[in-house]
Amino acid sequence: MNGFALALRQIRYENRAFWRNPPAAFFTFAFPLIFMVIFNVLFGEGASAFFTPAIIVFSVITATYTNLAMTVTIARDEGILKRIRGTPLPPWAYLAGRIGHAIVIGFLLVVIVAGFGALAYGVEIPWDAMPTVLLVLVVGSASFSAIGLAVTGLIPNSDAAPAVVNATILPVLFISNVFIPIENAPAWVDAVSHILPVRHFADAMLGLYASGGAADFPWQELGVIAAWGLLGVIGALRFFSWEPRR
């Protein structure tokens, strides 16, 4: 089997293992919906037009960055990665399998959140801009996967994984137009959030949702997200470890 076929095969095994843990699977999918409902209740009528695309972005980041940074760190410390390293499976094919699985889950979440937004709150899905929406999702999920793998290299052990992952992503989500519309934020917060990739991911998705096919193609946003993705790849190549660290 070539590396590509092995990577696809790896996605299937990851997927099979994922569905065998129903509570984990259930809450993976329920989590963004819970947020969506709460935000809509708290922020009232009309908030759903903002929160549907915002929670789509949140879902993709959770499924890729958060999920990979935590599960790959745990797999590393349990020796799963080390075992794989001793087999002829090309290392990239293994990681591609994990990333592929994360992206599959991310896309399922997007479908669920967009569907829920459309059915429960009447937020129209931007069908006219669908190719651009898909491109933003692909670039976003690939980049946040790469950043997630890079971050595993900075997590000293699996006990520290939840703390490190949450502390790196939650504040960013708060200042990046995802959890709270960022209209009245101080200028410096706005500036900081524009350096980071989450803001651009959110702005691109919000823009596409707000104006459908009429939106400008989000070159700038995609460029910043992809640049962070590239940094993630470089960081992962530099810091990723197959050996347990205890």
Partner: protein, 303 residues
């Protein structure tokens, strides 16, 4: 045709972690089809050595050849021919035994039949159970099954029975013997003397990062001082003849000798002549454990 080159050839292997030199110049040769044991106390450098052979660690110096490859280069061609049981490893807990072995088998060009591997590892009854449901000993057997999935020529077992109860250890030994009978070369590390003696065709004792002895178990026992020990008791005040070479050992007397027949003849002849009763007479072969303890004693003092 049997290739003439060794399965493993190590020359001048060294490994330092900062200022600590864990492996300090090791030479080893393991022939194809052989069961070889690297025996030593914890912290002697066993795992460092075996992980360098497996390609998991880099070396600081020396030449290493495993099946003709340099494991430091991480070549796929070598990994296809080697199976590894690490000291501690994880597998996907939510897959069944069969799925795990099948998944791993798919990485290899010519894997062994999945059910045959499961049976070799003694997991037939657990075939369709999820790894999560298995006991510690059964999971260790999953490790072995995973290592066998690719039908490797060479198998590394790093302390394969640590934490096993006695009957599980015997079972594991039988499995290793079975694998050896299939023609596999097996390189195992252990800190159990009886394990090395029971399984290995040849063994090396490592202490403080250096090989202090190597050969067959018999050679090792024979090479270091006397091979037999005679113990006995005498009535108070009785002293055996000087020629027997006996010395006091606690409440008893002890003779260490390479010629037990001669020593016994001397002793019993003297006893009959002087009408001295000999109590608790016992003749034993020095065990590998005696040799091991003697050889590793100095190293432990250093630690």
């Amino acid at each position: 045709m049997i290739p003439a080159d060794a399965a493993i050839d190590l020359r001048g292997l060294r490994k330092s972690y900062g200022s600590l030199e864990a492996v300090r110049g090791i030479d080893l040769r393991v022939e194809r089809g052989e069961v070889f044991a690297l025996l030593g106390p914890n912290g002697a450098g066993k795992t460092t050595t075996v992980e360098i052979l497996e390609g998991h660690r880099t070396r600081s110096a020396g030449e290493v050849s495993v099946l003709g490859h340099d494991p430091g280069r991480n070549e796929r061609a070598l990994k296809q021919r080697v199976g590894i049981v690490l000291q501690q490893t994880g597998v996907d807990l939510y897959l069944t035994v069969h799925e795990v072995v099948e998944m791993i088998a798919g990485y290899y060009p010519a894997p062994r039949d999945v059910d045959e591997v499961i049976s070799l590892a003694g997991l037939t009854e657990q075939r369709d159970q999820r790894v999560k449901k298995l006991s510690g000993g059964q999971r260790r057997r999953v490790d072995l099954a995973v290592a066998l999935a690719g039908d490797p020529e060479l198998l590394f077992l790093d302390e394969p029975t640590t934490g096993f109860d006695p009957s599980a250890r015997r079972q594991a030994w039988e499995t290793v013997r079975g694998l050896s009978a299939l023609g596999k070369t097996i390189f195992l590390t252990t800190h159990f003397m009886d394990e090395a003696q029971a399984l290995a065709d040849r063994l090396a004792i490592i202490a403080d990062g250096q090989i202090v002895a190597s050969g067959t178990a018999d050679e090792l026992i024979g090479a270091t001082s006397a091979a037999s020990r005679i113990r006995f008791r005498l009535p108070d005040g009785a002293v055996p003849p000087d020629a027997a070479g006996a010395r006091v050992a606690g409440p008893a007397w002890e003779i260490e000798t390479d010629a037990p027949t001669r020593a016994l003849n001397l002793l019993t002849g003297w006893a009959l002549k002087t009408d001295t009763p000999i109590g608790d007479l016992e003749v034993s072969r020095r065990s590998l454990e005696d040799v091991y303890l003697q050889l590793t004693a100095d190293a432990e003092v250093v630690e």
